[in-house]
Amino acid sequence: MQWKVLIGGKDRIVDLPDLIPDNISFPATIDNHPVQLRWQRATRALFILDSKNLDSKASGPWASLNLRSKTVSKFAGESDLIISSEYMPAGAKFPVILDATVALHIPGQEAREGAKAKKPKVVRSQITGKVLKVMAKVGDTVNAGDALMIIEAMKMENRVLAMAQGVIESVKVSEGEMVSTGAELVRFKQAASDTQG
C-alpha cells in the first residue's frame, strides 16, 4: 500500500505492507529508496535499517524512533489522517515534534481531482465540547480571523475562527448543543478555509 505523507511542505511516498508485523523486520520504501523496518508495537518504537543513510541524524545502521505521544484526527467524509506526535530519535536529548498529513496514494489521482469543481468549504470542530455561543449568521460575510462561535471543553472557552474571507451558507449547530471532533459547524458559499483559535 502506498501512502502520501505531507511533511515540512513536501510530499513523500512511503510504500508499506498492508499489515505491519509486530517486532519482525520487513522491507519498505520511501521515494523508491529501500529501507528495512521493525515496529515494536508494545513499546511503540520504530527501528529503521537504512543503508543509504537517508537521514543525517541516524547513527549506526539501525536508527530507533521512540514514540512519546501521538494523536490522530480523521474527519468524517475526509480521507486524510492528521498525525501529531512526539518521538525521541536514538541518541537525542529532546523529542522531535512531528506533524504530518497521511493519505492513501493512488497514482494519477491528483490529475482527476484537479478536474473536479471545488467543493464548498466546511468548518469542522477540532474538539469535542459544548457550543456556548454562535456568532456566525447565514448570509454574513466574514473576514479571516473573525470568530464564528465559541466551544467549551474542559472548562475552557475556545473560539472557532475563520481562516479566510467568505459568505456563510449555513450554520449547522445551535447554542447549547454538544459537538464531537470533526462535526460540521459552518459551511461557506465560497472558498474559505477553517481552523480553530
Binding site: 501512502w3 513536501k10 529501507v35 523496518l37 506526535s85 474542559m154 475552557m156
Partner: protein, 527 residues
C-alpha cells in the same frame, strides 16, 4: 522513625473514622483513597455518568452514582452528595480540592448529616474566605498585607481617597472573590469610576456580595505560599514554602519547594508568619497561606486556601510528612506527632501538571481516549494520576490528567530528574503539556531561578520556537514513522465510547478493510 510513617489512629482516638466518602474525582480522589487505605479506613467513591469507568471508582471499597455529567448536577450538587453520605453510612467526608472544598455551607451540611468534614471548621473557612475579614485579622496579628483599603469601599469618593495613599496601578477585588474572577487592575485616575462600577456589579452577580476593596497592584510578583498543618488542639507547624510562579493565565504549571527566592532567615520568617496567620483563624487540618512577593524583603499576605492543594505533593517530598494522612488523623482528633523543630527541609522537589492540552496549538484541550500510557519510574519519581491505558477522558471537567513529582538532593539534580521523567512519560491518544514543561525546564532563566508570574508571557517567543517541526535532515525517517502510525491507526480494533448528546454511543467496530475501501472510494470521488 521517619516523620512520613509517624502518626497512627490510636485506640483511644476521640473520633475514629471507619468509612470515608470522597466528594471529588480524578487524581485527588485516588490520592485520598490511597491515604485512607494506608490507615485501614474504608472508602466511598462518587462518580458522575461520564466518570463511571474512572480509576477512583475501581480503587474505592464502595461507590455511589451521581446522575448527570455537569459539575452542577454532580460534584457540586449538595443535596445529592449529602444523600450519598447517608446512604453509604460514611462517617467522614473528604472534599479534595476545587468543587465544594472551600464551601463552609457544605461543611455545615456534612456535619448536620452526622459525618465529620475532613478540613477546618466552617467558622475558620468563613473568616478566611472573606478577603476583607481575613486582611483585618492579619492586621491585628501584625502579618503584613498589601497596602490598600481596610474596609469595603463605600463609593467612588471613598476609592479616590484611598487611591491617594495606594497609588497606581491598583487592583480592585471582590471581597468574596477568588479564582481570578472579580478583579480589575486600574492604571490611572480617569478609569476609577468605571472600574469601580464594573467590579461592584461583577462581585454582586458572581459572588452575591457587592463588597469591593482596593490594593496596590504588584506587577509580575513572585507567587510563594506556605503549607501549614494544624491539629484540633492548637498545635501547628509549617512545612516550608512552595514557589508557584510558573503560571499561564493564573493556572499554575510547575511548582517547586523550597523557593530559590528566599534565604534561610527569610524562609524561617515567612513560615513563622504563616503559622501566626493560621492560628489567628483558629485553623485545623492542612491549609496554605499565599504570599505575594515583590522582593525577598517585601512579602505580603494575600489569602488563605482552606483545603489541600494540587501542589501539596512537593511539600510532602521535602518534609517527609504525608499531608493527606495527617488531614485524616487530625479529623480523628489525633494530636500532631511532631513539633516545628522535628521537621527538616531535605532536598528539592518539583511538580509538573500534565494537562490534556496541546501547547503547540494554543493549549487547545483534547479530551479523548488514552490508547496507551506509560509512567516514568525510578529514584526520586512519583506519579499521582488517574490515567490508565484505555481510559476515556471526559470533556466536562478539569484537563489535568497527571502530576509528575520528582525529588532530588539539590535543585539541579531534581531538574535533571524531571527531564528524565518527562522523557520516559509516554502517552498515545491525547495531546499533553509534557513538551511544554520540558521547554520550561530547559530555559536558562528557569534554571537560574530568576523568574516571576509573567515568565510564560515574557518568553512567548522562546516557547514558539520550542515546538518547531521536524528538522529538514530528519524528515525521511519522520515520514516513514508517520506512514507506520497511519497504518497502525487503521488497524486499531478498539471500540471508542464517546459521550454525545447525553447518551453513551459506542462507535462501530473499526475495520481496516472497510476503512480502506472507503478511503479508496473517497479518493476516487465515489462517496
Amino acid at each position: 522513625m521517619s516523620l512520613y510513617t509517624k502518626g497512627q489512629i490510636s485506640n483511644g482516638s476521640p473520633r475514629r473514622i471507619k468509612r470515608l466518602l470522597i466528594a471529588n474525582r480524578g487524581e485527588i480522589a485516588v490520592r485520598i483513597i490511597r491515604a485512607a487505605r494506608d490507615l485501614g479506613i474504608e472508602t466511598v467513591a462518587l462518580y458522575s455518568d461520564a466518570d463511571q469507568f474512572s480509576l477512583h471508582v475501581k480503587l474505592a471499597d464502595y461507590s455511589v452514582r451521581l446522575p448527570g455529567n455537569t459539575p452542577l448536577e454532580t460534584y457540586l450538587n449538595v443535596p445529592v452528595l449529602i444523600q450519598a453520605v447517608k446512604d453509604s453510612k460514611a462517617d467522614a467526608v473528604h472534599p479534595g480540592y476545587g468543587f465544594l472544598s472551600e464551601s463552609a455551607d457544605f461543611a455545615d451540611a456534612v456535619a448536620s448529616a452526622g459525618a465529620k468534614f475532613v478540613g477546618p471548621s466552617a467558622a475558620s473557612m468563613r473568616t478566611m474566605g472573606d478577603k476583607i475579614e481575613a486582611k483585618k485579622l492579619m492586621k491585628i496579628h501584625k502579618v503584613q498585607c498589601v497596602p490598600g483599603s481596610e474596609n469595603p469601599l463605600k463609593d467612588v469618593d471613598d476609592l479616590r481617597k484611598h487611591a491617594k495613599e495606594v497609588g497606581f496601578p491598583m487592583i480592585l477585588k471582590a471581597s468574596a472573590g477568588g479564582g481570578g474572577r472579580g478583579m480589575r487592575v486600574v492604571r490611572n485616575e480617569g478609569d476609577l469610576a468605571e472600574s469601580f462600577a464594573a467590579c461592584t456589579r461583577e462581585a454582586a452577580s458572581y459572588f452575591g456580595n457587592p463588597a469591593v476593596f482596593c490594593e496596590r497592584y504588584i506587577e509580575n510578583p513572585r507567587h510563594i505560599e506556605v503549607q501549614v498543618l494544624f491539629d484540633e488542639h492548637g498545635n501547628g507547624v509549617h512545612l516550608f514554602e512552595r514557589d508557584c510562579s510558573i503560571q499561564r493565565r493564573h493556572q499554575k504549571l510547575i511548582e517547586e519547594a523550597p523557593s530559590l527566592f528566599l534565604n534561610e532567615v527569610q524562609r524561617a520568617e515567612i513560615g513563622r508568619r504563616a503559622v501566626i496567620a493560621a492560628k489567628a483563624a483558629g485553623y485545623s487540618s492542612a491549609g496554605t497561606i499565599e504570599f505575594i512577593c515583590e522582593s525577598p524583603e517585601r512579602i505580603y499576605f494575600m489569602e488563605m486556601n482552606t483545603r489541600i492543594q494540587v501542589e501539596h505533593t512537593v511539600s510532602e517530598e521535602i518534609s517527609d510528612i504525608d499531608l493527606v494522612r495527617w488531614q485524616i488523623l487530625v479529623a480523628c482528633g489525633e494530636k500532631l506527632a511532631f513539633k516545628q523543630e522535628d521537621i527538616h527541609l531535605r532536598g528539592w522537589a518539583f511538580e509538573a501538571r500534565i494537562n490534556a492540552e496541546d501547547p503547540a496549538k494554543g493549549f487547545l484541550p483534547g479530551p479523548g481516549r488514552v490508547n496507551q500510557v506509560r509512567f516514568p519510574a525510578g529514584p526520586g519519581i512519583r506519579v499521582d494520576s488517574h490515567l490508565y491505558s484505555g481510559y476515556e477522558i471526559p470533556q466536562f471537567y478539569d484537563s489535568m490528567v497527571a502530576k509528575l513529582i520528582v525529588w532530588g538532593p539539590t535543585r539541579d539534580i531534581a531538574i535533571e530528574r524531571m527531564l528524565r521523567a518527562l522523557s520516559e512519560f509516554e502517552i498515545d491518544g491525547i495531546p499533553t503539556t509534557a513538551k511544554f514543561h520540558e521547554a520550561v525546564l530547559r530555559h536558562p532563566l528557569f534554571r537560574a531561578g530568576t523568574f516571576n508570574t509573567g515568565f510564560i508571557d515574557q518568553q512567548a517567543e522562546y516557547f514558539k520556537g520550542a515546538f518547531s517541526a521536524v528538522p529538514d535532515d530528519q524528515q525521511t525517517h519522520a515520514a516513514i514513522l508517520a506512514a507506520v502510525l497511519a497504518v497502525e491507526e487503521l488497524r486499531r480494533p478498539a471500540t471508542m465510547v464517546s459521550e454525545v448528546k447525553g447518551t453513551l454511543v459506542s462507535n462501530q467496530e473499526r475495520s481496516l478493510w472497510r476503512d480502506r475501501a472507503r478511503l479508496e472510494a473517497t479518493n476516487r470521488g465515489g462517496i
